[in-house]
Symmetry: D2
Subunit: 335 residues, 4 copies
């Protein structure tokens, strides 16, 4: 499904043309429309329907590749492409926590791209950059404006959409009228990835943010949009007005450079007391912003708030494309 | 709807006969079946259908009354009944935080019943006892076994069922495929009520538990059953095995006295990694137990876990009936 | 909610500017953003937020008015506007079955506009035109291509979205995990309106299509999009290929005139065996087309198929705007 | 999942003890609790949890077997058991339409059991009896009381629960906030099975009811309970009062013999204009009755109404158990 989201998201992109599709042996040789079951609204984009799927091997592939591979195969294939000189912009989890691989959220840690040269030590002619897990992106987008105040503790509870589990993914018998208070490996990913994303570039690695992070991950009967409740503590506690202003004025590299997929405002603060809500808000701003609301004091940590983001757009395909746009703006894609 | 739950829950009760129904002027004089829109599965119990509804005034009413009145009218009416010598066992929120009114969860604070005599100072011949808000009951049931370790901090995020908002309650346009990250006054209730319930009886009042409590309350598309994620810290941090044993061995006054509505085990610890779940578990044990799972260390506080309870049974009608059973076992209902 | 849909749908319209908002006394004088609770995704369009709402009376109102009034007040107010010389393009049900009022689906019965002059007999300087009920529009769009074969019998079962009931509309306790096999007056509307829409213009009235129509109307837990199963019989039974070709080649006045809101193809035939589906298909083509699938023989009548349309776009605001566009293309709005 | 429903349904049965569990090679030798993923509320019944699952072969198996086998294997295995002298009471679809196999709904066609002796011609020492598809059972229960009026035409549209598709079954991405207007082979099953069930026993086969039956089958986001809208015509059209009386007074062999799983009234007519509803009504009467409502004239056929039944109880496990009880009451299970 992330692959389908890439195909949809890249339609009409001003900088990138989707010209090549790689898949497993089983699909290679088929037309794209015959190689998968299209699950998104709107049908297979006409321009891609008849493209022939090729085997996921370096060779005919173009220089820049978006990877939505299953974790069971991504390690070897992504490395093969990187070794052969390709730029692998990956949504897979396999390389995210590797010491020399940037885990990017362009609004938060664009400078982590400076880690890429360290990959030369692997003997690769190309490189791998990654974006975080869908629930981590929403959280870190919400945390980005607050980093200046010295984040020390985060407790987050997620209510995650079913599209995050792919297709067929979550069985309807498990989620209609229900909550599943567990998503395999999700809490570990959120806790580690957040520390790396918010961390400090130190030449050949990222020094993780020394904050304690605790995640409770749940699945709910929502189609798109992960909602997260956050309690947070700071080394120097700001006022509520300071925090509010930080959310509202937040802007970063993607906005300054006017990257094509960058939302005008990466964080939208909503004043209504019962927002943000996934079905009503996640698709706003093209699904690329994070929506924050309900900022208020927390009796245990310092403050609490709600953050929402679109898990298959900002949390997957859109995230990787924005990463590629950032690299392009740095001149890193020029072959 | 809580009234309907009382009617259903009391059918066939071994100690209590439902003989009188009070309502507003508008309904008084009608047969029960004509005075309301029955919204629960199974239809109006035949024994009650033709009972004539009377006005909510002391007079013909029996000595012991269950109150499910709307907060907008409960203060005056409940006081009038108490003044006239009735025992008002209330699910309404109005008197919960009054200094001389017990806020009971019989497994947690049966001794708070000793507060009742302090109500004599109001000049009442009768009395009022209350049960907590539905989301608070689930939380405190889960906390009960842990009180011995000295609870100091609690952060809880709820995913609450739509039945908790009554009928018509939550509009379907607000909750189908959605999450609403706000429930009016719910967080305040959970934070204050929890401290009172877990607090210390001190003669004429309850000294609240000096723990910090922070609640994030959300509505999800579940019919019955509030799911809550909890992070918790203790003054003397127990081992995970200690906590686990505390959950599994927990038993209290209602179990010892074999009160008719008491669950055999007030807390059920579930070993499956993706449980408890509201649609699959809330109705077990007659809807009167709390279901706990996923106990694990919390990187910010000491531990975290999930707790689930049935919001209209254990969280409302069943709670009040168990309170009355506790009073009966103390001889407090003997007229 | 239909009013909000009008506001959203008219944003950026090439022919119409929304310059005036009328409402009840209670709202008059307020800014639009303060006068209602915006329930659609995306927030109140900025251009309208600060427009002052006026009382629903002729006077300052512009010549052409879209009406989304509640049925309880629409009769008198719409007539007052028509009498005063306004063109009332109404989504309300009140005048739909009046003998001299066109009930328009521009792809089906554009010629029914010729009924308008008959309204002069009422002494009105202006006029009223109407669009059908949301479930009727989808059905008649699906029937349009088949009219040529002489429709004699129709049995339709609807599975209607909750947005069709407005806000707060359907209580979540009634529809989460449920089906409600009844919608007040909906079956009567579908049966009568279909006969009028498919009927023959006869100078001063419409002679209803002499087909038998039977509707079963149900509410399901879908946000937008009414799905309908249809069994149909013809006076001269066509082949399945004929029917299929009729669906696929259907085009009508709005397409010929390239009306701004007209879908390129008013009926989209979907080949997948499990389509159309409301969540995946209703928003395609801007929500203005009908989606048909599963054409196959019916063992009782001649054929059966499924039709889907977007109930708040094609079934309400979009329908009325397309009616106004049709009138504009006829020169009927020139003041 | 049907197997799990059998295990749950047979707990505490007055006539039958569940003593043996057969499954594929893969599961044989495991304890029941380890051999499957229990998906029903309430957990694995304690009495069965430690029973060792055996291979599905005649041998140690008891004389009477309930079969919930997958259609891909049921033909051969069920025949092997029947040949070896077992009574196979099957919920699988494989033998339903075989000429010499009864397709039973005990309230409708108990006399079809007389078909069993014809199976001797296959050289079997035992026999196979079957129950219909879950959506057919609800329909035929609703039709049973009406058979006396000479049914000639039936058009039915189903809105079927997700539990009917087993586990994992329907993907949540396909059904949350959606309708799927297609269920593989379901329409064909409903049309053929209905004719056989309502047909006439003729010595060595069943002469199908010569009525035209047309089914439209849909999946909706309901957990349990298939809702069906029915239009019907008769050879001698009864009055609405006659039909109503037929529904309300219906009783049959299972009721006369007081079979343990028989509902007191097999058909419950509901007077409320918006009932029956699956979430509120399907579980009433132990899930074994059919609920009918909204009887009214049909402008195309003679009458229309709504029928609801519980698809995993009356439509599967409960149906087979009732079949076995019927056979027991005929002395057919005595070994």
């Amino acid at each position: 499904m992330v692959g389908q989201n890439f195909v949809r998201f890249l339609q009409g992109h001003p900088w990138f043309d989707l010209t090549w599709l790689g898949a497993s042996d089983r699909s290679a040789g088929k037309k794209y429309k015959d190689a998968m079951n299209w699950n998104l609204a709107g049908g297979v984009p006409a321009a891609m329907a008849d493209l022939t799927v090729e085997e996921s091997k370096p060779g005919n592939a173009p220089r820049v590749l978006f990877s939505a591979m299953d974790a069971s195969v991504a390690t070897d294939i992504e490395r093969a492409f990187a070794a052969a000189g390709h730029v692998v912009v990956s949504n897979s989890r396999n390389h995210r926590m590797e010491r020399d691989v940037p885990l990017l959220v362009p609004e938060i840690n664009a400078d982590h791209l400076r880690l890429v040269p360290a990959q030369k030590a692997r003997g690769w002619k190309g490189e791998i950059v990654t974006n975080p897990n869908c629930s981590t992106i929403g959280l870190t987008m919400g945390l980005g404006p607050l980093k200046q105040f010295g984040i020390t503790k985060i407790i987050v509870t997620t209510m995650q959409a079913i599209s995050g589990a792919g297709y067929p993914g979550v069985a309807s018998m498990d989620i209609v009228g229900n909550v599943v208070p567990y998503i395999g490996m999700e809490e570990e990913k959120m806790e580690m990835e957040t520390q790396k994303i918010m961390g400090q570039f130190c030449g050949d690695h990222i020094e993780p943010l020394p904050a304690q992070v605790s995640a409770h991950c749940n699945r709910v009967a929502v189609v798109d949009g992960h909602t997260e409740t956050v309690s947070i503590a700071f080394s120097s506690k700001p006022s509520e007005a300071d925090l509010r202003a930080a959310f509202e004025s937040f802007t970063a590299v993607p906005q300054e450079r006017e990257l094509p997929s960058a939302p005008r405002n990466p964080v939208i603060y909503m004043n209504e007391q019962n927002r943000p809500q996934p079905r009503k808000d996640a698709e706003r701003e093209g699904g690329m912003a994070a929506f924050v609301g309900r900022l208020r004091p927390c009796p245990v940590l310092d403050y609490k708030f709600v953050v929402l983001s679109h898990n298959t757009i900002r949390g997957a395909a859109g995230a990787a494309v924005l990463n590629a746009e950032l690299m392009h703006s740095e001149g890193m894609l020029a072959g």
